[in-house]
């Protein structure tokens, strides 16, 4: 049987996307933890262009970029499909996945910002959440994927778990549940799924790790 390997880091939302997809489809894989400050020669060989995680290696062949990986997984292992079968519905799903992908940078933007930049970053976050609120759980759906999660839910997962950690690290409440009731319901639904609940990086550990990194970064910025 073909070997599946996943290179990731313990806190990466992108790596978790792939972990969930593999587990949803019941695919066994070997997980390799990478140290971002000391990347392995193997990672650099498999992803020479971006030198990033996650990388999925299937039968010795590397696939890079989490959304590319997810589509590959969905096509190779069609059980528990992560995208709609109808081409138009699939185009709509891919639109929202791209929207989410284009917004993940807001994580590092907020993390790195202080002062005026921070205010601008918060404003962008709120705009993003408003779009999500308008388009989430339409027609009484539990998830973007309907009754079950799909690739769109997975793409927005950074809002469900990593945003909370970020708020703790920067000391700001950006997501007020009463202002975003639909997104709030979606987050609760998403995090209640056993497969998701049992496969999330520890929030306290991430918070401590990120706070330390942020202190150092801001200190060197003001020097």
């Amino acid at each position: 049987m073909a070997v599946v390997e996943l290179f990731g880091t313990w806190f990466s939302p992108y790596a978790y996307r792939v972990i969930w997809a593999l587990k949803l489809k019941g695919i066994s894989y070997e997980y390799i933890e990478e140290d971002i400050r000391n990347k392995s020669p193997l990672l650099l060989q498999y992803n020479p262009i971006h030198k990033k995680v996650p990388v999925l290696v299937h039968d010795g062949k590397p696939i890079c970029e989490s959304t590319v990986i997810l589509q590959y997984i969905d096509e190779i292992w069609p059980q528990n499909p992560l995208l709609p079968a109808d081409p138009y519905d699939r185009a709509v799903a891919l639109f929202w996945i791209k929207f989410a992908d284009d917004k993940v940078y807001l994580m590092s933007k907020l993390y790195q910002a202080d002062g005026e930049e921070q205010r601008a970053a918060v404003k962008e976050w709120l705009e993003m959440l408003e779009v999500m609120e308008e388009n989430a759980l339409i027609g009484g759906k539990k998830f973007f994927g309907g009754d079950e999660i799909n690739m769109v839910d997975i793409a927005f997962s950074f809002v469900a778990h990593w945003l909370g950690v970020l708020e703790d690290v920067v000391g700001l409440e950006i997501f007020e549940p009463h202002k975003f009731p639909r997104v709030s319901s979606w987050i609760q639904n998403f995090k209640s799924i056993p497969l998701i609940k049992e496969n999330l990086p520890d929030a306290d550990k991430m918070s401590a790790f990120s706070k330390h990194g942020r202190e150092m970064m801001l200190a060197s910025k003001s020097n």
Binding site: E65, V68, Y72, E75, K98
Partner: protein, 219 residues
């Protein structure tokens, strides 16, 4: 299957060109509607409320937004002619990776070349050439990125050729001198009617850029 097909577009947009090429490759008739981006139509705002951007492909009244998604949609719906996306899942993943690379790098770096000066421009030029060289590496000895016929990566990349003259004039460099294989590939693509008819004249694009520079105040 054809139904009513409308493309909301703006003539110099490399993203719009992608969908034009895909539709032309497959010989699909459609209505092209030019948008004035300073005065966007109600239809555009209704069909793409999230981003309010072109291109938007409207098929039987339903919008498909984002050029990369449009090309994939066109390829899936009109799958019997001129397939653009590889049939092998691994090759498909490779093609998607490079389209993602093009989307992350080429437009932004190209924009920096015509918008900025001095060190920022110099850095953008350097990185732009490096990216083109990486793409040359991926092309290798193939006729097209798609092999013997035009593929997903070709369609995603070749529109930027219409902006090369503008980049070269603004950045005072020659892309052909640095990346001859890339230009050779471009010329092969331009021999295809679907590509030649979908790309505007480079000098026209340059004039358009000069007007934009005045607006941005970088002259």
């Amino acid at each position: 299957m054809a139904g009513e097909l409308v493309l909301l577009d703006f003539w110099p947009s490399p993203f719009g060109m992608r969908s034009r090429i895909a539709l032309a490759e497959k010989g699909i008739p459609y209505e092209y509607r030019e948008e004035d981006l300073r005065n966007k139509s109600d239809l555009l705002l209704q069909m793409n409320p999230v981003h309010k951007k072109i291109p938007v492909l409207i098929h039987n009244g339903k919008p498909v937004c984002e050029s990369v998604i449009q090309v994939q949609y066109i390829d899936e719906v009109w799958h019997d002619k001129a397939p653009l996306i590889p049939s092998d899942p691994y090759q498909r993943a490779v093609a998607r990776f490079w389209v993602d690379f093009i989307d992350k790098k080429i437009y932004e770096l190209g924009s920096k070349i015509w918008k900025t000066k001095g060190e920022e421009q110099a850095n953008a030029k350097k990185e732009f050439i490096e990216c083109l060289k990486l793409l040359e590496g991926e092309l290798g000895d193939k006729t097209y990125f798609g092999g013997e016929s035009l593929g997903y990566v070709d369609v995603a990349l070749v529109p930027f050729y219409s902006w090369f003259y503008a980049y070269e004039k603004c950045g005072d460099f020659s892309i052909e001198a640095e990346c001859p294989k890339m230009i050779a590939w471009v010329k092969r693509c331009m021999q295809k009617e679907s590509v030649a008819k979908s790309l505007p004249d480079q000098e026209k694009v340059y004039e358009f850029i000069l007007q934009l520079k005045k607006v941005f105040g970088s002259e």
